[in-house]
Amino acid sequence: MADDPLPRAEIDHALCVGVGECIRLAPHAFRYDKQRLGIFKGKGSGYSLQQLEDAEASCPMQAIKLVPPAAE
């Protein structure tokens, strides 16, 4: 179970306003891009599923969607 791959996060930039809740909650999974919008930089480690879920649920603009890792 421990190495179940983590989901990826997609950020809809039509919605994101760059408040940065995602970055605060999961600094190793999100960062700002040049326009100061949130982007997902996660490489699959350094953060937890809970952090991702918290970011998804806390984004004030509901801009984050978690997508299951592509089934190989």
Partner: protein, 411 residues
């Protein structure tokens, strides 16, 4: 429509009949004059453009929320000779800047997890069903007092872990305390009432806290008591302050969201029909109600340094009033802004503010609105506001109906 009658009022009078009851024409005139407008009477900047309002909310660096220093500080201190009251107010992180704000918000956030909010959905659904029963078959009900008031207070009380049958008590202290900061001027009596309320709130909460310390439960009070960051926990006083903050930040606002939403659907009955047919729109409908006529008109800040906003020179110590209610109707940001369109998406409204103070309770408010709309649209074929003129409370901050008489038509 009320919104179209008056357009000649005084632009400096933020509490005029027009500003209070027909704000959208008023804000439009202000925005057209200048989206960042100097108001002589209020002695500060009134910001009504979308770009300027959102820029203001995001600039916590230069625009302070601190109510205890700067131009608001003197007022508050003068009014509150009582240091206990002041001391209490100064623990409310919504009126503080970093670093205190950051520390406090992240501790409270630990307790207020979005997941713990989602657990409330079932309960909210149940409550909506019960509360909607008395709306049936009546010629008129006051939706605000008979429905919209109860749902958020019960939900927040149960979530916090205080008995919901004491909700009037909870409402009373939150009202009195909110009046201190929301209403301006130095009304001694208001301060005295707030002090008395604070004392009652403490009396009420102290035994609850003591109990939760011994027997933690799945509630917010327990979570606040035990939340920890860098080895630091909230003090008892801080827990009490935050509990009170949740109640007053969360109850009137959510109540007004539901009431203003019903009033909006009454003006756009086709949107009610659309939502009846497609509950996939509940989420966007909720966002649209927040945009179209949200619970907060605007909030104050003050400048910590000189800077430019929307081409105007803001000076250090100037007061700045950010009106999201106006931003949300700015044609530069929203197509056809004066129409309620529940399919509108994306919808970057600013009803919850933006930046570091963005509403912490947004998931809870959304959940309640979604559940209320889901049930009311299935039960009632049509809603009809049966009141000639809608009247709103005379405050600069909240967009609150005094009452809302509605007839709910069953299918």
């Amino acid at each position: 429509m009320v919104d179209d009658i008056l357009d000649t009022g005084d632009l400096d009078d933020l509490l005029s009949e027009e500003a209070i009851n027909s704000p959208f024409t008023f804000y439009r005139r202000l925005r057209e004059r200048n989206p960042v407008y100097w108001n002589k009477r209020w002695n500060g900047w009134i910001v009504t453009g979308y770009d300027e309002v959102t820029a203001g909310y995001r600039d916590a660096q230069r625009l302070s929320s601190d109510r205890f220093s700067g131009p608001f500080g003197a007022e508050v201190r003068e009014a509150g000779e009582n240091t206990r009251l002041l001391d209490f107010l100064s623990k409310l992180f919504v009126w503080k800047d970093p670093p205190y704000h950051t520390r406090m918000r992240s501790l409270v956030f630990k307790a207020f997890t979005p997941r713990s909010v989602e657990i409330l959905r079932e309960r909210a659904r149940e409550l909506v069903r019960d509360l909607a029963e008395p709306l049936r078959g009546k010629e008129r009900v006051n939706f605000l007092t008979d429905f919209a008031f109860h749902l958020p207070v019960i939900v927040i009380a149960e979530y916090l872990g205080v008995p919901s049958d004491q909700r009037y008590e909870v409402r009373d202290w939150s009202d009195d305390l909110a009046a201190v900061i929301f209403v301006r001027g130095d009304d001694k009596q208001r301060m005295q009432r707030a002090e008395a309320s604070l004392a009652r709130a403490r009396e009420f909460l102290t035994p609850v806290l003591a109990d939760r310390r011994q027997n933690p439960r799945q509630d917010l009070i327990s979570a606040l008591l035990f939340a920890e960051e860098d080895g630091r926990r909230l003090t008892e006083e801080e827990v009490i302050a935050n509990v009170i903050l949740m109640v007053f930040a969360g109850h009137e606002t959510t109540m007004n969201l539901m009431s203003n939403g019903i009033a909006a659907f009454d003006k756009f009955p086709d949107q009610w029909q659309l939502l009846r047919q497609d509950h996939g729109l509940l989420r966007s409908a909720t966002e649209e109600c927040l945009r179209f006529d949200g619970p907060i008109r605007g909030l104050g800040r003050w400048a910590k340094e000189d800077f430019e906003l929307g081409g105007q020179q803001i000076k250090r110590m100037d007061r700045v009033f950010l009106i999201q209610h106006a931003a949300n109707r700015d044609p530069a940001a929203f197509e056809n802004p004066d129409a309620l369109d529940i399919t509108r998406w994306p919808n970057k409204h600013a009803a919850f503010g933006q930046g570091i103070h963005t509403c912490l309770g947004a998931p809870l408010a959304r959940l309640e609105m979604q559940e209320a709309l889901a049930y009311l649209t299935t039960q009632f074929e049509r809603i009809e506001v049966v009141q000639d003129k809608l009247e709103y409370g005379p405050t600069m901050v909240s967009r609150s109906l005094k009452g809302l008489d509605v007839k709910f038509h069953e299918a």
